[in-house]
């Protein structure tokens, strides 16, 4: 009941449910950077939407199944193969023992997700199986996968028929993104706050599961660099004194001292996991009440394919 890593790629980790309710201890949330794509993969193999799965970054990866199993691949657009033959994303794939699966480099988007019937077995630390690399815990030995690693599969809870994600439930993977956001605690320290929602940002090279750089323009921030450290969350956008914004993602720290000038609305947070260096990003302003209504509408829409979506987005 194992799979063996043939080529781990740039960074492949096991991700599962977020590490909820631990931020007051300085413990970040973690979990899939794009939890919607991970949930879609788990759905296709009959798993709980948050079952441990592989998160594959940019360059792809490959593995061999040493057991008959079912898998599904979602997320970034990537050319995938089984034994060298093209394999579709968003489809339950039946694997026989010995089959080799190759997840190609991401052509658009940043992260592919591979779910296995029964889920991957993973170490649990501080209430979650999601790998947190900076402290080296949970997932698979707290580290990215390496060549030769053998990963155990859980027991499938039911036999699933082959499924395909309906076209209307395949999240678009883009080069240019619009993401809903609103003001935060220190927005008033920007003398040019209006530009937050009228700027085309470029995602910087220094972007990862902790955060993404928003390049292309600098903001005028009235700050002396001595702000008392304050709580921050995935989606918080901060502005250091150099005026270049960054947005925090799933592995970001829990407190920070750079002014918090905006926050991505909860309903669009999952998109952060697919933004890659060089992509364009526009922030669209949403008042809180609208962000709330639109979240509920999004839940209603997604519940038809993914019951329990409220746990995901």
């Amino acid at each position: 009941m194992t799979i063996q890593v043939l080529n781990p790629g740039l960074q492949t980790t096991i991700q599962a449910a977020p590490r909820a309710g631990m931020r007051h201890l300085g413990v970040p949330t973690s979990g899939a950077a794009d939890p919607l794509s991970m949930a879609l993969a788990n759905k296709l193999v009959g798993n709980d939407l948050l079952a441990p799965a592989l998160e594959v970054t940019l360059t792809g990866m490959s593995f061999r199944a040493d057991v008959n199993t079912q898998i599904a691949i979602t997320g970034a657009s990537a050319a995938c193969t089984v034994n060298g033959k093209p394999a579709q994303q968003h489809l339950t794939l039946q694997l026989a023992s010995g089959d080799e699966v190759h997840i190609g480099p991401a052509e658009k988007g940043a992260r592919s997700y591979v779910a296995f019937a029964g889920g991957l077995r993973a170490d649990e630390t501080l209430g979650s199986q999601s790998t947190y690399l900076p402290a080296g815990f949970a997932g698979f030995k707290g580290r990215p996968l390496q060549k030769g690693d053998q990963l155990d599969l859980g027991k499938p809870s039911k036999i699933v028929e082959l499924l395909q994600t309906p076209a209307e439930y395949r999240p678009p993977i883009l080069d240019s993104w619009t993401i809903r956001a609103g003001h935060s605690s220190e927005t008033k320290l920007l003398s040019d706050a209006d530009r937050l929602f009228a700027t085309k940002f470029t995602i910087g090279n220094r972007s990862d599961r902790m955060g993404l750089r928003l390049e292309g323009t600098k903001f005028d921030i009235r700050s002396d660099g001595r702000m008392p450290s304050a709580p921050v969350f995935p989606g918080t956008i901060q502005c250091p004194e150099d005026g270049e914004l960054f947005v925090l993602s799933v592995d970001a720290g829990t407190t920070g001292g750079y002014p918090r000038v905006a926050k991505i609305a909860r309903l669009d947070l999952h998109m952060l996991g697919q933004l890659r260096p060089g992509n364009q990003l526009m922030l669209i302003e949403r008042e809180q009440s609208d962000a709330e209504v639109e979240l509920r509408e999004k839940h209603t829409y997604w519940n038809a394919w993914l019951p329990g979506i409220e746990r995901i987005i």
Binding site: R226, M227, P231, K263, A291
Partner: protein
């Protein structure tokens, strides 16, 4: 009470002790997803899909209005060895130049006095320690570092920060410690907690 985002409410408080106390009481209500204390604020994250913002704000106001509990538990004094300057503290020379003091003066002012941990946050085990001598107040780096080594000791805005893990960071680094700040294999992985008493001891090497 202020909004910090679509699902966040921020409450201002006077000091770190009040922040810890209010955060504890809010957390005990089990009404919120996350309750995180800062130095002079507490931020609550709530489930906007199932809860109404007005109800949440009212619930927070009721808890804020209840009497606080800032009595202190007495903690043992923890000695933290620090190798100051050089490779271990690459910003110490700049900091001393900014403050117009010698490195010896800096070390004398920073070590050999008792501090209290105000907050553990940022990353697992990172400790914010207030009470720095007024002369040692410097701002954050204008551009944060991509990679700060584990054990680094930074200062900013009147506080000392201990980087438990390697990672990005924006505080000028004045030294490094070999002291283990986070041990995931220990029964309780968090070595320091808010309220812990610490003293820095200058050492020549790591």
């Amino acid at each position: 009470m202020l909004s910090a985002g679509d699902d966040l409410v921020s409450i201002s408080v006077a000091n770190p002790r009040e922040a810890q106390d209010l955060a504890t009481r809010l957390r005990e209500s089990l009404a919120f997803l996350e309750v995180v204390a800062g130095i002079d604020s507490v931020v609550v994250q709530f489930d906007i899909a199932s809860k109404d913002r007005n109800d949440i704000e009212q619930q927070i106001a009721e808890i804020v209005a209840q009497p606080g509990n800032t009595h202190t538990i007495s903690h043992a004094l923890v000695e933290i060895p620090v190798c100051y300057g050089g490779v271990a503290g690459p910003d110490l020379a700049d900091v001393c130049e900014q403050l117009r003091i010698s490195q010896e003066q800096f070390i004398a002012l920073h070590s050999g006095r008792e501090y209290e941990v105000d907050l553990v946050g940022f990353t697992p085990g990172f400790a914010y320690i207030g009470g720095l001598d007024d002369q040692l107040n410097v701002p954050r780096l204008q551009e944060p570092r991509v990679c700060v080594p584990a054990g680094s000791v930074g200062i900013t805005g009147g506080m000392t920060g201990l980087y438990a893990l390697q990672g990005p960071g924006g505080w000028p680094l004045i030294g490094r410690t070999s002291f283990t700040l986070f041990d995931v294999d220990a029964g309780d992985p968090f070595v320091l907690v808010a309220g812990s008493r610490v003293v820095f001891v200058a050492v020549d090497s790591m």
